[in-house]
């Protein structure tokens, strides 16, 4: 990809990516993050409280977007200086080998000084926007 500050402009689109989320990913994320909320790993309980299935941690989806932006910007996760999202829909993760898929795309909202840009990101799962107002400021090479 090798996006550089000089090679992009307001409106430049980031190449879209898809990320797969399986139950195993949620178990690993629960362990690594310390978020053991039962709706993220127990289908029986998730359904009993009215959810369609086990749902992904919102922060797991946000982490995928962080990765998406950092990889595009040269692979340095430390280049992301400001990052915010609104969680607008849940990502149900079925108990099979396919899991759920999130589609992530983005475009440059603004070029800032110091080689920084603000990226507006869209993340969708099952046709629904799972994040809105997802914005990251990242420093480019």
């Amino acid at each position: 990809m090798n996006a550089t500050y000089d090679s992009i402009d307001k409106g430049t689109e980031l190449p879209p990516r898809t990320y797969r989320i399986t139950r195993l990913d949620l178990v690993k994320y629960a362990g690594a993050s310390g978020d053991f909320n039962i709706i993220h790993w127990n289908e029986r309980v998730a359904r009993s409280v009215g959810l369609p299935n086990v749902i992904a941690h919102g922060m797991y989806t946000m982490a995928q977007v962080g990765k998406f932006v950092a990889e595009w910007a040269g692979g340095d996760p430390g280049a992301v200086t400001d990052f915010g999202v609104r969680f607008s829909a849940m990502v149900p993760v079925p108990d099979d080998d396919e899991g759920a898929t999130i589609e992530v795309s983005g475009k440059i909202l603004e070029k800032l000084p110091d080689n920084k840009v603000t990226v507006d990101v869209v993340a969708k799962a099952g046709g629904a926007k799972v994040l809105t107002r997802a914005r990251a400021t990242v420093r480019l090479p």
Binding site: Y19, D25, K28, Y29, G31, A32, S33, G34, D35, G58, M59, Y60, M62, A63, Q64, G66, K67, A70, E71, G75, D76, P77, G78, V80, T81, D82, F83, G84, V85, R86, F87, R133, A136
Partner: protein
């Protein structure tokens, strides 16, 4: 149950210092599928200008949620955590977290709003080194669905 609006402005912490470790960063990077060697290989991180391996940007949620727990479980606030969904999250960094950082977190209840059956709680958590250097401010918006 409506949240107690008088709790807006309350400050919790700083709590016990949190030591950022290489192993924890690598585990977190593995869990989210972050491929960067800057999260795993100290030499690569140093070559890129960092003191040690760096944490991915959402790593700070671990420290944020530990700190925010003091606020959300405060009985006087009246939050039913079983009815809470995460509405928004943001991070604003002065620099990346790296292995070896020893940080403290302080959480402020920024606002409390009730709209019909929904209550909204906004918290901000400042994450600073024990020497007082600001690293990150994490802002969370939690929504409590009324019963």
């Amino acid at each position: 149950m409506a949240l107690n609006p008088e709790y807006a402005g309350r400050v919790y912490g700083p709590g016990e210092p949190y030591e950022v470790s290489r192993v924890k960063i690598a585990d977190f990077a593995d869990a989210i599928g972050e491929p960067s060697q800057l999260c795993r290989d100290r030499e690569a991180a140093v070559k890129a200008g960092y003191p040690d391996v760096i944490a991915p940007p959402t790593f700070a949620v671990i420290i944020d949620q530990r700190s925010t727990k003091a606020a959300v479980t405060d009985p006087g606030l009246g939050l039913d955590y079983s009815m809470v969904v995460h509405g928004e999250q943001s991070f604003s960094y002065s620099r990346p977290l790296h292995a070896g950082d020893v940080v403290v977190a302080t959480t402020t209840i920024e606002s409390i709003r009730t709209l019909g059956a929904l209550s909204m709680l906004v918290t901000s958590t400042s994450i600073d080194t024990v020497d007082g250097e600001h690293i990150c401010t994490a802002t969370s918006n939690l929504v409590e669905r009324g019963a």
